[in-house]
Symmetry: C2
Subunit: 223 residues, 2 copies
DNA sequence: CCTACCGATCGGTAGG
DNA sequence: CCTACCGATCGGTAGG
């Protein structure tokens, strides 16, 4: 999920090969790529799948965005569908890692449940709306493009993710700060957050922290 | 959006022409179709677009589901895209009509703002989750498949819809029962509701009324 | 990873 | 609304 540093005088990755000296620049010694090309495909796919949808994106689109020829994605991935799955899997791994990190950071500090919820919400927003983070949005909006087996596999990661929220929500419920059955509250809260993908504009919307504050203030009763 | 009554011994509309006596049953006198065939296409398209997505649905799929030949949808609609737009437009008209009806019914009864919100939420759930209501979900999840001109046109209907919520939300905000800026509150609330499309199961979930009660209880502070 | 290619499918149309 | 069809595109592969 790191951004490649591109020297300002080089054309951007997605640019057609017009002004470039025919062909892709050959790897130099300081430009090793091991899983590098594979990840270039993943990033390109994530961005395009999010922008145009899985079915409307062609493997040629993806190849071009990763600066490859039309057949080359299939050297790295068995099928277009496998590419979709890989995008989603990376998205969930990122989200899980981020969320666990947040919980470990807040736990020993003895944060209140409300503060823990806030931390979870901020992390969720970051994974969803942070620059270049197209992986999780693809997962949210292309579920129906998965095969049953792939769904089952991802569902495990998702329920692991959701289970991280449960202790916090249960605590808040016990404190009387959260109405509605906890399971339903989780669906409504995550729904409200996930929908931000549709309207969030980094140039016009508030900061992720401010959004998180407002959301938590709306969901929770006064203590 | 009315359900067609189907005699139990007849095959369902979407069923392939296996057990049927070759070809489409000819219109009888009591089976006039004026805009009827057109609407059969709309319903089939809505269901398929929701199920598989716009790009993954072929016009042949739609034609077959409406019991027509592959070229026939283009007699009723200029393009596949025009069909998508028509589905969304019908969805928004239904939603607007339903919502206005709800507001007119609740207004003279002098309902409290919280009760008005509850009525809006129930109506929203119905339009979203009611049996056969695939039109609005398609609008929510295929926005990116629209052309810019179509988006602009639909955006008018959407903002009309959202503006129906504003007086109620403003009132609740003034009463101190709704935290967060009203505009953001609207986005979060509608997001929480819209997300239900992803998890609602008529066989397992609570009734739409119970869901609405829980949602309103969670969003609003005690009075 | 590229070149060259195949088979299938798809949106759309002419002409009735 | 059907029949018959076209041109373009697409996922995927062989063979290097």
């Amino acid at each position: 999920m790191h951004e490649e540093t591109i020297a300002p005088n080089l054309p951007s990755v997605a640019e057609p090969s017009a002004k470039r000296p025919r062909g892709r620049p050959r790897k130099t010694d300081d430009e090793r790529d091991d899983g590098n090309r594979r990840h270039a495909l993943l990033s390109a796919a994530a961005q395009l799948f999010r922008q145009k949808g899985f079915a409307a994106t062609t493997t040629r689109d993806i190849a071009a965005a990763a600066d490859m020829q039309s057949g080359s994605p299939f050297y790295h991935f068995k099928s277009k569908n496998a590419l979709l799955y890989a995008v989603m899997e990376e998205g969930m791994h990122t989200a899980l890692a981020r969320q666990k990190q947040v919980m470990h950071a807040s736990d020993p500090q003895g944060l209140h449940a409300a503060e823990q919820l806030r931390a979870l919400v901020v992390a969720h927003f970051e994974v969803l709306l942070g620059p270049g983070n197209d992986f999780v949005p693809v997962m949210l909006y292309e579920w129906r493009s998965l095969q049953p087996r792939q769904r089952k596999s991802l569902a495990l990661l998702i329920s692991e993710y959701e289970s991280l929220w449960m202790p916090v929500l249960l605590m808040l419920h016990a404190q009387g700060r959260l109405r509605a059955p906890v399971g339903l509250a989780r669906l409504l809260i995550l729904g409200a957050l996930n929908w931000s993908v549709q309207w969030f504009d980094p140039k016009k919307s508030a900061s992720l922290q401010d959004l998180a504050d407002a959301a938590v203030a709306m969901f929770l009763k006064e203590s």
